[in-house]
Symmetry: C2
């Protein structure tokens, strides 16, 4: 990978802003939600997912699919929500292998309380700062990027040289920036 163009100043500016948003925004949203409702963002997503399912009930695997979490994380999350009375878990009568997570009335009430809190947070942290034109413009740009994000081939273009040193990778995000070293 010998010849790479550095980012242009305009690219640099966009990248900086995006990386900052990527790092900061989720924490702010999570914190807003948790302080006011006692639900983490992950929990909110989980019960919201259940609330939209038929009968407010989902197989564990489908719930995991819906939230984008792993099956094991989903198991632990649902167990915790159950211990707080927001969700129940029972074996499926149709298929003995499946467990069904179902939103309780309290869970639904909690969600109804949390939704406006969350939307207000999203507006205050993000949309309050930009007008309608900007929303449409940025929407077009980011939609394109988001759509192509995962179907871009995983293998980097150049020669995959240093494939040797490799440790296990899980979880968390970076927030890397661009300009070259000295």
């Amino acid at each position: 990978m010998p010849n790479v163009e550095p980012l242009t100043p305009a690219e640099e500016a966009l990248w900086w802003a995006l990386m900052r948003i990527v790092v900061t925004l989720p924490r702010l949203l999570d914190s807003d939600l948790l302080c006011t409702t006692g639900l983490s963002a992950t929990e909110y997503t989980t019960i919201k997912c259940l609330s939209e399912a038929p009968n407010r009930e989902l197989r564990m695997a489908d719930l995991a699919e819906g939230t984008g979490l792993s099956a094991s994380r989903t198991t632990r999350l649902v167990d915790d929500l159950q211990s707080r009375g927001l969700v129940t878990k029972r074996a499926s009568s149709a298929d003995g292998r499946s467990n069904l997570a179902k939103l309780t009335a309290e869970g639904m009430a909690k969600l109804k309380f949390a939704w406006p809190v969350h939307v207000a947070s999203v507006r205050r942290r993000f949309f309050d700062h930009i007008d309608g034109t900007a929303v449409r413009r940025a929407g077009h740009v980011l939609t394109v990027v988001a759509a192509r994000l995962e179907d871009t081939p995983a293998a980097p273009p150049g020669t995959p040289s240093a494939t040797s040193e490799l440790r296990a990778r899980r979880g968390s995000p970076p927030w890397v920036s661009a300009p070259p070293p000295l």
Copy 2:
């Protein structure tokens, strides 16, 4: 928080794209970097930060500040990088409390190798999908949001009702979405 306007369709679209980018892009960048160079994004950021410091050397606290990581994470990260020969750590002669992390020649070489890999990854994952006009437009919008992100007051607007239930919060990101329940 009784009256909250749901997001408009245009807002919804932007929000969806942004949340998807927030979740997916960091993992892709991290994975690209790790596969090709053996450095995680966090490690890359750390050594890049050192590379830009006078004498390629920084107090632990300043390094933590520069990378945005906690002091304890920085300690563990530097210890690990040291065990791989990319960084050294020594006590400061000026202040007995301070430790100085310094990039080694190998660390610098590694960074020089990794930089083009990373920039290529950023281009391929992001900038290749948008043209110059879009870069400028999105840049303007996101720069404004990013700038105001943290100086927006932390306290939610409405009555802080459910302040009771609260557990410890650390680490990780959500990727919450917007529309209301049933």
